[in-house]
């Protein structure tokens, strides 16, 4: 009894913390759902909270995570490690081109797994298809040069895409209008969130021509839907690669936004692109044009830009 008494108080705090912490999170989630049902504006993190979150060395952590997942696993360890990942994140291995887990040398390679050729048929009736497997976070029209990352939480279009060239006789147009080629058109957006268990390659959502790649080094905060509801301008803070160009209706862009555990982005037709590397500073951006000054394509396709067909593999996200 005496020993038990001396041990008990020291063991109380952990369960107490777990219960009270869990209760608090549950209450917050309940409150958030209530607010959503009432149509109330979401409660955002304060600038101090965002600054505190941004002060975490997420890029360093991400690169360390990438290094760790690049280490070749011994054959006997591969199946248990990947099975745990499959079970945790609900990966459908029946769709994978290589189902034998022993064939993947490390978790990074497993994360980049390809799919069997016939498992993702392309919708022939739609001019725009999903570029990735995931969850639709938000979609709609862009109003007043502000885009919604989730309902009620916006970010600036200009901050997201970076400055655009103004026509010489035009100094008053809004940023949104600068992108539009016709007053009969509008600007639309779709956000697809890729969860850890999803296939992490991305494909061309339409027939279009990429003219410019703009790389924005930045933070690597989580882009989990819960965080996207809390942090305004989240997609403008994180490292991202924006591919912009033209499609049959005018302006078109695809932007891959990185996150803490998935910090680097690869574009198959752009060998110069390097993301999540220490030499770039947050807040800067780096352009690479696929069109030369005289309008000729660097890819020598004769049309000025990189021509992508609907469904073509464009790039992939990588761990770290």
């Amino acid at each position: 009894v005496s020993t038990g008494r001396s041990i008990l108080p020291s063991r109380w705090p952990l369960p107490l913390l777990l219960v009270s912490g869990g209760g608090y999170l549950g209450y917050q989630k309940y409150k958030w759902r209530e607010q959503q049902q009432d149509g109330a504006t979401p409660v955002l993190a304060t600038p101090t909270q965002v600054a505190l979150y941004r002060s975490f060395p997420t890029r360093l952590l991400s690169r360390a995570w990438g290094r760790l997942n690049g280490v070749e696993l011994p054959n006997w360890l591969r199946k248990p490690v990947y099975s745990l990942y499959i079970w945790t994140f609900g990966v459908n291995m029946q769709e994978a081109a290589v189902e034998d887990l022993h064939q993947y040398r490390n978790l990074g390679e497993f994360f980049r797994r390809r799919l069997k050729p016939a498992v993702r048929p392309l919708c022939a009736n739609s001019c725009l298809i999903s570029p990735a497997d995931g969850k639709i976070l938000h979609f709609g029209q862009v109003k007043n040069s502000e885009v919604e990352q989730v309902k009620g939480v916006t970010y600036s279009l200009e901050n997201f895409l970076g400055p655009q060239k103004r026509r010489s006789n035009d100094s008053t147009s809004s940023f949104r209008d600068l992108l539009l080629s016709s007053p009969d058109n509008d600007l639309f957006h779709v956000v697809v969130y890729l969860a850890p268990g999803d296939y992490h390659c991305f494909h061309s959502p339409a027939d279009w021509k990429v003219e410019l790649r703009r790389h924005f080094p930045g933070s690597l905060l989580s882009v989990n839907p819960g965080v996207a509801r809390l942090v305004k301008e989240l997609f403008c803070l994180n490292e991202r690669v924006a591919l912009t160009g033209q499609w049959q209706h005018g302006f078109f862009s695809l932007t891959a936004v990185g996150a803490t555990n998935v910090g680097s982005i690869r574009v198959y037709f752009d060998q110069e692109l390097q993301t999540n590397v220490p030499r770039y500073n947050k807040g800067s951006f780096h352009d690479h044009s696929y069109v030369t000054i005289d309008g000729q394509s660097l890819k020598a396709d004769g049309e000025g830009g990189v021509v992508l067909q609907k469904g073509a593999a464009v790039g992939e996200f990588n761990l770290g």
Binding site: R120, L122, C123, N125, S126, C127, L128, I129, S130, P131, D133, G134, K135, I136, L137, H138, F139, G140, V142, V147, K151, L157, F160, L161, L179, L180, S182, D184, N185, D186, L187, F188, H189, V190, V191, V192, Y193, L194, Y199, C201, F202, H203, P205, A206, V223, F235, W247, H249, G250, F251, F252, S253, L254, T255, A256, V257, G258, A259, G311, F317
Partner: protein, 32 residues
Amino acid sequence: STIVLLFEAPKDFSFSLQPGQRIRVGEGLGSL
């Protein structure tokens, strides 16, 4: 990770989506 598409289209472009729905590569997002 996240993919954001921003595009110009005629005003009558309509999405065939629901917020929060699961989607896969190649499935239609919308049409004219």
